[in-house]
Symmetry: C2
Subunit: 327 residues, 2 copies
């Protein structure tokens, strides 16, 4: 049970479907977590009310008193301004337009609050309490629907002039490559996200290429997932292995570029594709080593994120902890 | 004339051909400069002796007393460790192998000394006393024989884990592109350095393409320079304009990638190609704006370096000034 004098942080991970809450110690270690539905359709005022309720509830469950809370950190998707605490827009959350989310939550809860992009918060979570503990310079790529990115240099988040640094997914690695949603061709995201992998698999299946994926997807190419592709790779399927090798090669190019640019201590990979763990990591490490400069390639450990779906809420708490000492 | 109580810095820019010295105020503004030949063939001990002599001489000329010198900064080419002050290797300077250059210079001169890579020092020079004064986040590309790079974030140099961050020239932007000296294909350097421009021009001329460049080079393709290509562009030469447009397009891809990655306030361009100034800057800005994300593209000013050949020595002084307050 927490002692009276010890101090704690609250993390809030606001998503389109769920809000996750945690109480952590000041090393971002979680004591207690809580999840509730966002119910975004009820509008921003209702969602903020639910955030305040959730915070109250997770405090009760953790047996930490309000007076022991040093800070509250919020991780939130979409473009925002971490300095002013304003959320510009939120995918899947209508009504969150130019909303002073940080101050609204601070007003409702009474806790000194901080706001950060959820991908950046997750990277901070990995540094404080996950795969990259104590690492000075790291970059993180989240390989999911798209490719999210975050940069931590000299032990701190680097956010860029408009909080939009880290768009690794939109590094062009082939000017003749496939068209990307951003309007350019050959973005890394078009090769190395779960979405891209699934799209190429579906295309090959529709084109008639024989593959175990046909069976795994019940004969419906549109039902193929990145997990199925990984399963087919493990079972030696030729098409799946080819797609996997292409993904590794393109992702290897992107990561080698980033290693030459940042000379980081560590590259952390998260997101859905990392469910493949070593089946992705091992060939990827070899590929990157063959491409990046020798010394930076030796230096940069390429590792899997550890916190999984907790990264967001732990990271949100870490955002609060790391900034509350400074403001 | 400098007042007795005012404090100053010394910059030393060590090159393969010349050593440049400067005395600057603590805003890196030069009072006095001096250049002498390196005479690298005489060996490292002799070169260090000449550095000490040059420092003595530039102090005498500037009428600043030794007691007024706060620090000395050395900019040096090649791989080095800025923390330990050891130079690993120096292109064109035989005998500079694993040499504790910083401590040797400090021993000889008696001034608190600091060492930095010359490209990084030049970027710091531009920030302190050049094109990017007061800028918080900037990246610099030097478009010359190769492409040098430097990163300044939150007002400080970012060097990476092994002091090798900023290898922008070896960002692969086309996996099917021409082979690079680094062993990979399609590195930015193979498209957007002066060397690359000259190589493609020579190739086209050897292939028989008609061009004003034939006349400008006296009929000798091997005599073509990047300056000649620029002259031919200004005079409307078709081949030169095509090569120039290709260079702008590839460099635009590279810079757009970097803007998406860093979301910087400023991108500073230096090196021989920048003699073309607005003939390169104007089409490049338009190209980058069409490729990078809107907000970061609006934010990032793309500008020419200002200090020219003084960047190295001013930057070296700035390295000393910015670090002497911290150690």
């Amino acid at each position: 049970m927490p002692t009276e004098s010890k101090r704690y942080a609250v993390g809030v991970d606001l998503g389109g479907t769920n809000i996750v809450f945690a109480v952590t110690d000041l090393k971002a270690k979680a004591l207690c977590k809580l999840k509730m539905p966002t119910l975004a359709q009820e509008g921003s005022a209702a969602v903020i009310g639910r955030i305040a309720k959730g915070v109250e509830e997770v405090l009760v469950r953790s047996k930490v008193r309000s007076s022991q809370i040093q800070c509250l950190g919020i991780g939130s998707p979409g473009p925002l301004n971490a300095r002013t605490g304003v959320v510009y827009d939120m995918p899947n959350l209508p009504g969150f337009h130019n909303l002073p989310l940080r101050d609204l939550v601070q007003g409702k809860t009474g806790f000194k609050s901080f706001l950060e992009n959820d991908a950046k918060a997750a990277a901070l979570g990995e540094k404080w309490a996950g795969a990259a503990r104590g690492v000075e310079n790291m970059i993180m790529l989240t390989l999911g629907t798209g490719i999210g990115g975050a940069i931590l240099l000299k032990h701190e988040l680097y956010a860029g002039a408009d909080n939009s640094a880290g768009e690794f997914g939109h590094m062009v690695i082939d000017p003749d490559g496939p068209l990307c949603g951003c309007g350019r061709r050959g973005c890394l995201e078009r090769y190395a996200s779960a979405t891209a992998l699934v799209a190429t698999a579906r295309q090959a299946l529709s084109g008639g290429t024989p593959s175990l994926l046909r069976k795994l997807s019940g004969g419906r190419p549109e039902a193929v997932t990145s997990l199925m592709v990984h399963q087919a790779v493990k079972r030696g399927d030729k098409l799946a292995k080819k797609l996997w090798a292409e993904l590794v090669d393109r992702l290897g190019t992107g990561i080698a570029n980033l290693i030459n640019i940042f000379n980081p201590d560590c590259v952390v990979l998260g997101g859905g594709l990392m469910l493949a763990d070593h089946d992705l990591l091992l060939p990827l490490r070899a590929n990157v080593r063959s491409k990046a400069f020798a010394q930076p390639a030796r230096r940069a450990k390429i590792i899997a994120a550890k916190l999984g779906e907790d990264a967001g809420v732990i990271g949100a708490a870490a955002v609060g902890i790391s900034r509350s000492g400074k403001d």
